[in-house]
Structures are given as C-alpha cells and as structure tokens.
Amino acid sequence: MKRMLSAWRLVLAVALLTIPGGSALAQTYPAKTIKIVVPFAPGGISDVLARVLGQKLNESWGQPVVIENRPGAGTTIAADFVVKSPPDGYTLYFIDITTHAINASLYRKLPYDSIRDFSPVMLVTSTPLMLVLHPSVPAKSVKELIALAKSKPGQLNIAHSGLGTITHLTGEMFKSTVGVDMVNIPYTGSAPATTAVLSGEAAMIFSTMPPAMTHTKAGKLRAMAVTTPKRVAAAPDVPTMIEAGVPGFESVLWNGILMPPKTPKGIIDKINSEMRRILQMPDVKERFFAQGGEISAGAPEQLAAHLKSEIEKWGKIIKASGARAD
C-alpha cells in the first residue's frame, strides 16, 4: 500500500513537471532561431515583405530569423508544413488572402482546416487592387465601362494572373455584381497579365498596386477605380469602386501572420506586440507604403474575424464562378 502511494506521488510529480506552463514558456522565448515560412517563391512582393519583417525581428530580438520558402501547389504545401510544426513559437507563417481565404474554397479537399488548424497572430497589411484599362477602350469611367460591356457581350477581354488569384476572383465578382459578360484570359502571374493589358491583348485587369501605379503614371494605362472602401493615399484622384457606381464592392489583398495550432497565447501576444512595434518604424512604413498598402497591425482576434469573413465571402464567389483547383 505504501509503495503504491509513493508510486502515485512519483507519477503525479512527473506529470506536474511536464505540463508546459504557457506563460513560463513565453518568458524564456525567444531562445533560438525563428523560422518564417513563406509560401511563395523568393522574389514576390509578399516574400520581400516577409524578409523585411524578418530582418527587423532579428535586429530587435537578437535571434537569427530564417526565411524558408516553400512554394508549391498553390501554397498548400507550406500550409501543411506549418500545421505539422510544433506550437513552440519558432514557426511563423506569412500568408496572404490567396493562401487562406481563397484556397479554403478553391480546393475541394485540403489536408487541413483553414480556421481551426492555425493560430492567428496578426493582420499585417492591406492593399487595394486597381482596375486599369488599356487607353484604346472607349470608357472614361466605370459606369461607361459597364455600359460598354453590356452593349458588347462576350467581346471584351479581362486579364487575370491565374485561376483562383485575387485578380481573377475580383473580376468574377465585378462581372456578377454588375451583370456583364466578359471573357477571362488567364496568365501565369501578374507580370505577364499586366503586360498583356499594356500591349492591348486584353482590355483591362484588376491589377495589384505597384504595376498599376507605374503604368498609369506613365500614361500607358487608364486608372478607373480602386477596390477598397476608401480612397488610397497613393492614388488620391482615383475613385473607389463604390464611388464609381458599384455599391458594396470591396476586394482587398491582405497579408497576415499565422502560427501552428495551439500555440500558447503568451507567445502569440509577444509576437503580435513586437510586430506592431516594427510596423510603426518609419523605414518599414515607407517601404510598405511604396507598395500602395496600408498597415493594419491589429490584435490576433482581428485576423481571426477577418479570415472567417473573407473565407465566407470568397467562397460564395468561387462557387458562382465555378473555379476550382484539384
């Protein structure tokens, strides 16, 4: 009897020792290399942004920060990797709208659940898209464009950067909201897609800000509207889609940070506050602003809520458009 009691005491003691104290862990964190998983190939805007953040984090925390690019399969490979990573705070996942909100509905079955299997940390930036037109198209405003499209069903070409990309789905949302019939021309990436509009092969595209700004400033493309609810500081003369006559139209390209499931709240909060501090730095702000974006830098719950609403919204549009990836 006595031996059994002491055995139980031993088991209890060992059990108590092994329970990880969430806050205790956060105090000694960070103690080793932090990994930021980027689900794109090096060089894209999101990758560059992640590297900027990584470098700043390294400067402020003194721990090495490594960027791990795991592109492939529309970013699902990276997501799967993150889901299976230990929730010890050393794996961050830099995402954008496509990797999470869109993929959730685009792929019929994913090896993870986009909401439950990740711990949201922060919404980082939001950038609008801009509808740009080739100058030869006889429409000076969005209203005129809609009228033109209605008079010529199936004749106007709208370019996009690939099935399931934000440029594609925004186009689909536009077409279904105003009720026009335009032909989608897919390209592999935003650079070829924008080039196509420049050469006149396609009439228009909902482009990301940097190329849109470059070419409209040079007079090669006509800026029609931005897709955010409010006007963008980088292009103050361009109306929003809502102002231009398409009520309730909103499409924002956003970046965020996620972590593996069940990461302790202490660690999440620590990263969140540090990132917020970094994003307030003037040089970081300047670089992000150069992309035409706005810094969101909210609490983890903001990302969680945003993720949920985005998945719902784009889910409907994806279903309506019939787009799917296998």
């Binding site: 990994k35 490594v66 960027i67 791990e68």
Partner: protein, 156 residues
C-alpha cells in the same frame, strides 16, 4: 529476300533504336491512357486533355516507326547496363533525399559520400572517410553558414 515457303524468322535485333522506340511507345501510351479522363474540348477550344492526347498519340506513332525500322535496318547493339554505378549513385541521392530533413545535413552528406563511393571503381575506406569528413565540413560551412540555406544540420 528469302524465297517463298521457307520459314522466315524475323530476328529481333536488340538494337538501340528498338529500345528507344519501346520507351517512346511506353510513354506515349501512358500519356494517352492518363489523359483520357481529362476533358478534351475541340481543336479551337482545347480542353486540358487535347494537347497531351495528341502528343501522346504522335509519340506512340513515332515509337512504332522507330522500333519497326530497327527490325530491318541494322544498327548498334546496346551494351549492357552497368548496374553498380547506377544503383549506388542513384542510391546515394535517394539516401540524401530521405535523410536530409529528419537526420540533418551532416549525416545525409555522410551517407551520400559513402554510398556513391561504393559505386566507383574501387573503395578505399580511409580515403572515403577523409573525403566524407571534408565534404561534411564544407557543406555545413558553405551552405548553412555561408549562404544561409535553411538546412537542419543535426538530427531533430
């Protein structure tokens, strides 16, 4: 040409072209079979299955022509495959691939050097060990520290 009535044996000359033809036929048929589930579309509005099926068919045809011609035209014989280098060189790659993530760069390099050396002309243990150690040090120094590539150096 043999006179009528005699048994004409078509000798399958195992020439290089014959086997090339077979490989082409193999891939061509494989492609057509896999692609038969993809929607075809039409010539002016191609579906995902159109191009592969077309090409797979052409490849199969080319394969037949090459193989058939090999039966009549004399060509070079195939020399036998050297299995030892083949198995060990590719085996070394596979070992590296399997080991590098879970067991780390150092052990994967070790395995690669040893296995690939087994595929060489001779295997001198001392030499190979020195080479392995040198390459292990080099790979960690150059790839991990120098270029910052995200490798696990040691087993997780």
């Amino acid at each position: 040409m043999a006179p009528m009535g005699e048994n004409v044996k078509i000798a399958i000359r195992a020439t290089k072209d014959f086997f090339s033809g077979l490989i082409f036929i193999f891939f061509g048929v494989l492609v057509v079979l896999v692609a038969r589930n993809y929607p075809m579309g039409s010539a002016v509005s191609m579906g995902p299955g159109y191009f592969p099926t077309l090409l797979g068919g052409v490849l199969t045809l080319l394969g037949f022509i090459i193989a058939a011609r090999a039966l009549w035209v004399s060509g070079e014989e195939v020399k036998s495959l050297a299995l030892r280098p083949l198995v060990f060189v590719l085996g070394a790659n596979l070992a590296f691939a399997i080991m590098v993530r879970s067991l780390g760069l150092v052990l994967a390099t070790l395995a690669l050097v040893f296995v690939s050396s087994l595929g060489g002309w001779e295997f001198r243990l001392r030499e190979v060990t020195v080479l392995a150690l040198a390459l292990m040090a080099l790979s960690v120094g150059l790839f991990v520290h120098g270029l910052g590539l995200p490798f696990n150096v040691w087993p997780q």
